[in-house]
């Protein structure tokens, strides 16, 4: 036992030493090429604006705050898309399992097509689909104070006021209100429908992994088909489905880094701008890696809690 621990400690030291050596080597090389390696730039003024932010942000704020906006945007989009993808995925998964032939084929078609189209195309597709039919701000559609145009969906919001278009104030855009941009919406839709195809399959595999005898036994004991599904099949199916489901949420978060292709200010996009302004390539890529790792850990921790709270994971 002690030997095992000692061996592991040794391994850890070797790995750490390798990392430090690599870092020192890189620092020396970068120094030789006059490429800056300090993180001090984080506290300089960003100088650029961000069009989607849940916290106040102005061009006079720091790079660090811009990064925070990016992380929050990534976090929110990933969380919303994860929930929606689960709902859609479960619906498609159940449809796939349904005894109704047409419904089941349709669900199969959904899974097979959407899974086989690269995510980037999903995103570009949704972006165009959302932008094309929507009117210009002058002709915003309005319903109960909510405005919709090709710049986004604007809600009245305490502190931000009622959204309105007034050419005298701003000839181009709606002012006021809380906005959901078409970029955010397209990213959420794309991630949702793409990931849902995988989730549907995971659900199906989970349900099919429950031995048939279980359902038959439950019905023999007098449970209705609905009770059988809810009390006997689903808890066991979800237990099987949970680990692959978690991987899907992790994948979704990482996939959200394609946001910049459709103009959404996620972590990758914001850090890309920072890299461009400061030239601090290593630092920004390092920060990105650490933050994505952090987000993954967060997702994992969250899922562990859900797993513990519910009895799905119970042995």
């Amino acid at each position: 036992m002690n030997r095992r621990i000692a061996l592991q400690a040794l391994l850890l030291v070797i790995v750490a030493a390798l990392f430090i050596a690599a870092a020192l080597n890189a620092a020396r090389n970068l120094e030789a090429r006059h490429i800056p390696t300090s993180f001090a730039f984080l506290w300089q003024t960003a100088g650029f604006g961000l069009n989607q932010s849940v916290i106040p942000f102005s061009p006079l704020d720091t790079y660090a705050r811009a990064l925070l906006v990016g992380v929050l945007n990534t976090l929110i989009v990933s969380a919303v898309a994860s929930v929606l993808a689960t709902v859609v995925g479960f619906a498609v998964g159940f449809a796939r399992l349904s005894a109704h032939w047409g419904l089941s084929r349709l669900a199969a078609l959904y899974v097979e097509t959407l899974r086989n189209i690269p995510l980037l195309l999903h995103l570009l597709f949704w972006y165009i689909v959302l932008l094309t039919p929507l009117p210009q701000p002058e002709q915003s559609l309005s319903l109960g104070g909510v405005l919709l145009n090709n710049r986004g969906l604007y809600f009245p919001f305490p502190g931000l006021g009622w959204p309105s278009f007034d050419a005298a104030r701003n000839a181009f855009n709606v002012e006021g209100g809380l906005r959901l941009s078409p970029e955010a919406a397209a990213l959420i839709f794309g991630l949702t429908f793409y990931t849902a195809a995988y989730i549907a399959e995971i659900l199906r595999a989970g349900v099919q992994a429950v031995p048939r005898g279980q359902g038959e036994a439950a019905q023999a004991l007098g449970l209705s088909p609905a009770q059988t599904r809810r009390l006997v099949v689903m808890p066991q199916a979800l237990r099987v489905a949970l680990p692959p489901l978690i991987s899907q949420y992790l994948a979704l978060t990482k996939n959200s880094s394609l946001a910049a292709f459709i103009g959404f200010a996620d972590l990758m996009q914001v850090s890309g701008t920072i890299l461009n302004q400061t030239g601090a390539a290593l630092q920004t890529i390092g920060i990105d890696m650490a933050l994505y790792l952090g987000l993954s850990m967060l997702t994992l921790a969250l899922m562990r809690r859900i797993e513990k709270k519910s009895d799905w994971g119970a042995k």
Partner: protein, 333 residues
Amino acid sequence: MLVRVIAFSLLLGLSARAGTLDDVLARGALVCGVNTGLAGFGLPDNRGEWRGFDIDYCRAVAAAIFDDPQKVRFTPLSGKDRFTALQSGEIDLLSRNTTWTQSREAGQGLLFAGVNYFDGQAFMVRKARNLKSVRDLKGASICVQQGTTTELNLADTFRKLGISAETVVFTGGDEALKAYESGRCDAYTTDGSALYAQRLKLSAPGEHEILGETISKEPFGPVVRQGDDRWFNLVKWTHFALLDAEELGVTAANVERLRQSDTPEIRRLLGADNDFGAGLGLPKDWVVRIVKAVGNYGEIFERNLGQGSPLKIPRGLNAQWRDGGLHYAPPVR
């Protein structure tokens, strides 16, 4: 992301080595970082052959080294990835409508080998809007490409004018253009030269106009890594040779004949008597090789950007100094 991670690992491992020319010779090809697709500057044609102003610069360097303009491998790079690719040694030369700025050179370990295109940032808007100047874009949404000086100038300009605008930032120039065309943005901004090229991609180019105002200086040039003076000189003098050739009237068609010319400047340029190539690691007839392969600067310009191209960009600032332009190359002597 993947590209950046790979580049990142390469950066970790890189050692400060010189001898790019030796590497290129050993490899048998020049690796040139170019645009992912911008008409006039770098774009594969329908047969998959790369064409453009920046492409011809790569071919000129390859011709000088190998006497064969085909010995180039092109690596298409986005605005965001281009410098990392050069720093990490993935490419030997970056020739991609890249603006020479102080921080790119001094702050990123790079060197610009000269200015081969003088440009400025401009705005494309819908004619129907009847806009006169950048100031009229107060409150507007503007589509722009990431990783460019364009993105930075935009923020500065609006700050200077004291007005705000929404910037929508895209990885690719084409995505930014499409978003503008779909009505998501009121303006699309990039280098004037690229606006000429991008406007032709719109379904109704006639409905759009380019505002006369330019908001920045955008001098483009080929870029190399710091720390290899010989390679830097080779690229720099390839550029000067193209300009000198134009100034002296040496063209692809007459270069062989002009080797017998009596004019001392032409004889020196073409290596008729003394050897001016050796100091660059090149043979005596290096300029003959270059001009035979791609023509002189004026020929490259006209074929890709000027009257011989769909863009029809006037020489303007890019004329020779004698004709009122800014190009003024040191002599070969």
